[in-house]
């Protein structure tokens, strides 16, 4: 495994400031701590998903990379080649968009904040070892009017990256992230979102995995009266681990998360939604839906943690799986951790198969079986599919079924 010396060598070779090196070391220690932590929740919680960790060391050797260009309405972030990562697009106005390395000097405070307190082992690992990534900042009182559309191209070699998105107070932002992955990519990516008070963020993530192994972590921290709305869709991931850690620290902050995935072949998805309510009057509503074909498998985790200082909070999580083939498998682990009597939390999970009455009904309307199936699956994934339609105008998940 990686040692502190490795980190030091890695950091020195990149001419990084001392504070960053120390933060990386701290995160490595935290990573080891998370690994050794006594399992107090569930004896089998970790047995569902096996991770091939050989990519970690390879990713360190691969080092930096990435170029940045504009293609029509898209900002293309291409990690397959090196190059200039900074963009000065007139359409962005006040919004800052840089590579992580170039943000180290000007936005030191923001980067420290994003690395101080990792919520899980993967966040800690990515903090310790990130080599590239995007830094975006929307200043306070300066909303980003344009919907920013990213197209992120991942290389075939392993990569660990960290993105930081800082939204100041009283502002607003929307972005769409479309990930294209080269065949056989293995990597870890973390996105840190800090939403200032009275701000809103709405974003959409679509990942076309192309047989890759991706661990994708989204950490968000919400200030007073802020709102985070996130829709994500996953497909074609050989082994996809998606973890969301949302900390509702501000009063009256709220989040809406909607996830959809289609599994096929021997794909394995592990989708975790961890929501920590610490502020007063916080609300969360999350829903993950998985449609599983062939031999695919999904593990849907939810964790609602309400701390005792959070009063009048309300949380809801639901995970739904639709098994479309006789060999598909699904596990649901919706956890609740409630401290104190200040809140209401509910969760639900269903694992069902295709309703043949629905199928029959659709067929009596003149659709053939394949079309009827598609329309039912699409209906099942509707909360996310609808958002994709709004932004992209395509039925991204279903169209090539």
């Amino acid at each position: 495994m990686i040692s502190e010396d490795d980190i030091e060598r890695f950091s020195r070779s990149r001419y990084e400031p001392e504070w960053l090196l120390n933060l990386r070391k701290l995160n490595l220690r935290k990573f080891q701590m998370f690994r050794e932590k006594k399992i107090s929740d569930s004896p089998i919680e970790r047995s569902y998903t096996k991770v091939d960790e050989t990519f970690i060391e390879e990713a360190m050797e691969n080092g930096t990379g990435g170029s940045f260009r504009e293609e029509g309405e898209y900002f293309v972030i291409d990690y397959t080649s090196g190059g200039e990562m900074d963009v000065k697009s007139s359409s962005l106005k006040y919004t800052v968009l840089r590579s992580m390395q170039n943000a180290l000097v000007d936005f030191k405070e923001d980067i420290i904040k994003s690395m101080e307190d990792p919520r899980d082992e993967w966040s800690a690992l990515s903090n310790a070892l990130w080599s590239t990534g995007v830094f975006l900042k929307v200043p306070s009182d300066r909303s980003c009017e344009r919907v920013i559309k990213f197209r992120v191209i991942y290389p075939s070699k392993p990569l660990i990256k960290k993105d930081v998105f800082i939204i100041g107070s009283n502002s607003h932002m929307q972005f769409v992230e479309y990930s294209q992955v080269k065949d056989g990519f293995r990597g870890l990516e973390e996105t840190y979102l800090d939403i200032g008070k009275n701000s809103t963020l709405k974003h959409l993530t679509m990942v076309d995995g192309n047989n890759s192994h991706i661990i994708s972590i989204k950490n968000s921290s919400l200030g007073n009266d802020s709102n985070d709305e996130w829709y994500y869709a996953l497909k074609n991931l050989k082994n996809g681990i998606v973890v969301t850690n949302s900390v509702l620290r501000g009063e009256n902050s709220s989040i809406i998360h909607r996830g959809a995935l289609i599994g096929k072949a021997y794909e394995h998805y592990d989708v975790g939604t961890n929501i920590y309510h610490t502020g007063k009057g916080t609300r969360s509503d999350s829903n993950v839906r998985a449609a599983l074909k062939d031999f695919s498998r999904s593990v849907i985790r939810g964790r609602i943690h309400i701390s005792s200082e959070s009063r009048e909070s309300n949380a809801y999580f639901s995970g739904n799986s639709l098994l479309l083939s006789e060999n598909a498998k699904s596990n649901a682990l919706p956890f609740l951790e409630i401290e104190g009597d200040g809140a209401q939390a509910r969760h639900s999970a269903t694992i069902t198969n295709l309703d043949y009455d629905q199928l029959f009904y659709a067929q009596t309307r003149g659709l053939d079986e394949r079309e009827s199936r598609n329309i039912i699956v699409e209906g099942f994934l509707d909360p996310v599919v609808r958002q994709i339609l709004i932004y992209e105008g395509t039925r991204y998940l279903i169209f090539n079924d």
């Binding site: 060999n327 598909a328 649901a332 919706p334 951790e337 639900s348 999970a349 694992i351 198969n353």
Partner: protein
């Protein structure tokens, strides 16, 4: 206390075939701790066959080799500070009148008037580690029903006992099942022959009287084809301030078309660690019902499980748990659907107050090939004050397309509007509170036999009123 001479005395008297009558309240107080010699002594006193002695020693080895669970509630058990065997002064009483005055008094305090016992179909009242009172109604005997304490069953029906002993719960299942294998003592043994319906519930009361004493009963219930039996286990214990350990094993065998209802109402004192294993094997069209109400104990880790091995088998798990005064209730249910067309229902209601922690840890697994199996899990929690907590950790695993698993859970507090509404009808806050709590528990409460639910109602009301107006 001079232990050695007492044992000798008892063994000698037993050899003479006399009933043991001694003046000492606890003639047999073992030294604290657990090793080979303790296990061998227990086996020797009980006059057990050789295979059982070897089994106990094997179980002890397994116990020593197994680590403590690295999950769940904090367990700080010093296994060397526990007594593993206690024999009450009366070994077996044939009639109620033969029971010592003291024991009869305790039963009366428990709210079981003498008159009421006549309604009980038969009872094996367990006092400390030995079944003291065994009274089987004549008609049950005529039907061929066996209802004994496990020690007597081992002597009277050794083959039957051996066939079912530690079968569905393997001795290497966990550290605590191995512990039970090594030092088990007492418990009930029920055998219901084919097509026999036992209309009255069979009951037993468990009670722990000595400080720091372990109680490791082993209960086996066998329901042959087409039979029905309802078994009720009630546990209470007086309050002591040093940790005691209770680690029972319950094995239930539900054969084809049989129906077993297993009810536990448990009110251990605040010092007791209750780490038991309960499991049922349900065959074709069989039905298993677990009903549990759990109120006391410092830490409870109890996950009744049902293995549905035959087509069309069903299981239902209903539980109420209440954690107060910084206790930890780690309950849950486990259902594994091994066969097609099986169904299960899990309903758990938990209440935490005064710093108590309730945990639901559930597992529903539907492996490939268990066509059309259905499972529903519902766990609701009520948290009555700031310092209390509730955790819910369900695991739903489905490997079969045609299966349906639904799960829902909620956790929260008593709504102000509900409280206000009831108070506006002229009730005090306490009354309103306990009314809401009892309403919350109602689904499960109505499955619990009347005398127990009355007792539970009383206890819950008492706990709620302790909170006062601040809750």
């Amino acid at each position: 206390m001079d232990k050695g001479s007492k044992i000798d005395e008892i063994i000698e008297e037993r050899a003479n075939g006399d009933r043991i009558i001694t003046r000492a309240r606890y003639p047999h107080v073992f030294r604290e701790g657990l090793d080979r010699s303790v296990v061998e002594e227990i086996s020797e006193i009980k006059g057990e066959p050789e295979w059982m002695r070897r089994f106990r020693l094997k179980a002890l080895e397994i116990f020593n080799s197994k680590p403590m669970p690295n999950w769940g509630p904090p367990l700080d058990i010093d296994f060397n500070r526990i007594r593993y065997y206690v024999l009450p002064d009366e070994v077996k009483a044939r009639r109620w009148e033969d029971l010592p005055e003291e024991i009869r008094e305790t039963y009366e305090k428990l709210g079981i008037p003498e008159i009421e016992r006549k309604y009980l179909s038969g009872s094996v009242a367990q006092l400390d580690s030995e079944g003291v009172y065994a009274n089987i109604k004549r008609q049950l005997e005529e039907k061929g029903v066996i209802f004994l304490d496990s020690d007597s069953a081992l002597k009277k029906y050794p083959d039957l006992f051996k066939e079912y002993f530690f079968r569905i719960v393997p001795v290497m299942d966990s550290k605590f099942s191995a512990l039970n294998g090594a030092v088990w003592s007492g418990g009930s043994f029920i055998y219901v022959p084919e097509n026999v319906r036992v209309d009255l519930p069979l009951m037993t009361y468990f009670r722990m009287n000595m400080m720091q004493e372990g109680q490791f009963e082993h209960t086996i219930i066998i329901a042959e084809k087409g039979s029905y039996v309802s078994y009720i286990e009630g546990c209470t214990a007086p309050i002591y301030n040093v940790t005691s350990l209770h680690s029972a094993v319950v094995e239930v065998y539900v054969k084809e078309n049989a129906h077993v209802k297993f009810t536990t109402v448990q009110n251990w004192s605040r010092d007791i660690l209750n780490l038991s294993t309960e499991r049922a094997r349900v065959e074709r069209m069989g039905r298993m019902e677990w009903v549990s109400g759990s109120l006391g104990s410092r830490v409870t880790m109890l996950y009744p499980s049902s293995y549905l091995v035959g087509e069309g088998a069903t299981a239902s798990h209903l539980s109420i748990s209440l954690a107060s005064d910084h206790t930890w209730k780690d309950n849950g249910s486990k259902v594994i659907h091994f066969a097609p067309n099986t169904s299960s229902k899990i309903i758990s209601k938990s209440i935490s107050l005064k710093g108590g922690t309730t945990v639901f840890r559930g597992l529903v697994r539907i492996p490939k090939g268990s066509f059309n199996s259905v499972s529903h899990v519902q766990c609701d929690a009520l948290i009555l004050d700031e310092s209390s907590r509730n955790f819910t950790f369900p695991h739903n695993e489905v490997y079969e397309e045609s299966a349906t698993v639904t799960h829902e859970a909620s956790a929260g507090r008593i709504g102000e509007e509900q409280l206000f509404y009831i108070m506006s009808r002229g009730l005090t806050e306490d009354e309103a509170r306990s009314m809401i709590v009892l309403g919350f528990l109602d689904d499960v409460m109505k499955e619990i036999p009347l005398e127990f639910s009355l007792e539970l109602n009383r206890l819950i009301k008492l706990k709620i009123s302790e909170l006062g107006g601040t809750g």
